[in-house]
Symmetry: C2
Subunit: 199 residues, 2 copies
């Protein structure tokens, strides 16, 4: 029975996530519907509900995947042996590059759809917390290296610094007050704003 039409799909969970990923990448989150997704994967309307409690759960899974991707990316960077200042600069560039190349996932990870309109899954909350903790720990190092300001706790500085990056990403992604070509110059200026050493 190697025929194309099998009753059981094989690994629907993975297929759903993969297709959903590429669907939102191409057409945006708001145009993703469970029914279309099921159709693309080649399965009936309600089949996905055996793998995800509801649409919110599926979106959370996508966001969670995003957190692990992003963390992996940044952890890889931190392994490099470079002057800490350069490391930080590359970190910032990488952060915005990720937001740019995975804009829809980024929106899901930090956006309103899940965190305000929806209800974040426990495991999503865990993933986001871990990402945040990794960041805060590194902020402490950056403070000690006199790169980030040391006039407040790592938590506070971590929050404000990340908020700055996040705001930049959002303006860029939403296309308000920020032309696409401006990004590079923008990022450089933001780095200057954030770094004590360049003052």
């Amino acid at each position: 029975m190697t025929n194309s039409k099998k009753y059981h799909h094989g690994d629907l969970t993975k297929s759903l996530l993969d297709s959903a990923s590429s669907l939102i990448k191409e057409h945006g989150v708001e145009s993703l519907s469970m029914r279309k997704l099921a159709d693309v994967v080649g399965v009936s309307r309600t089949a996905p509900y055996h793998h995800f409690k509801d649409k919110n759960a599926l979106l959370c899974a996508l966001a969670e995947k995003g957190f692990y991707e992003q963390e992996e990316l940044l952890c890889q960077l931190l392994k490099k042996t470079l002057p800490t200042t350069d490391l930080f600069k590359q970190y910032v560039h990488l952060y915005l590059e990720y937001a740019q190349q995975h804009s829809e996932t980024y929106d899901l990870m930090y956006g309103r759809v899940i965190w305000k309109a929806g209800t974040p899954t426990d495991s999503l909350v865990a993933a986001s917390r871990q990402t945040f903790k990794t960041w805060i720990d590194w902020v402490e190092t950056l403070q000690q290296a006199n790169i980030l300001p040391a006039d407040n706790s790592p938590l506070r500085i971590g929050q404000t610094t990340w908020a700055s990056l996040h705001g930049l990403a959002r303006f860029y992604l939403d296309g308000i007050y920020l032309d696409k070509e401006d990004l590079s110059g923008m990022v450089d200026q933001m780095i200057k704003n954030l770094c004590r050493s360049t003052h």
Copy 2:
């Protein structure tokens, strides 16, 4: 014919905007539907379509109103005779206060729903541009007063600075990485990050 049921409503446009405003304030933008809105106002499903081309247009109108509100608020502040540094600090506090107290409108003004998923009205674009221009002009003054960094054009500094405020607002509003009580301390730290004078 002063009876409650009149065929013509009076000023439906205004009523729609008012009701929509308070509906989103209470239940969030995503739960606002044209049908429910019409029902609240006491009019049939499709009546609003004689006043707004579609839902997007109505949301744009709400956002536009927000821009004028916000600009009014800030212009009032600038009239005060205070040391420029204090003025800037109050500006930042006021910005986040506005975002906090009109969170749903703020989301509409700067968020994805209109700027990415939807299509901003011409007049909305105009309003946002004006707000931005006012800001950039003031940034120039702030640079001359040595409050904001002068190592780049007013445009660039204006973009990055605003992005920082915006990111803070979003983290706060979406409730990620930021407890409600943290806001005040957060804003103070952000001001320290942004201001040259406090370095």
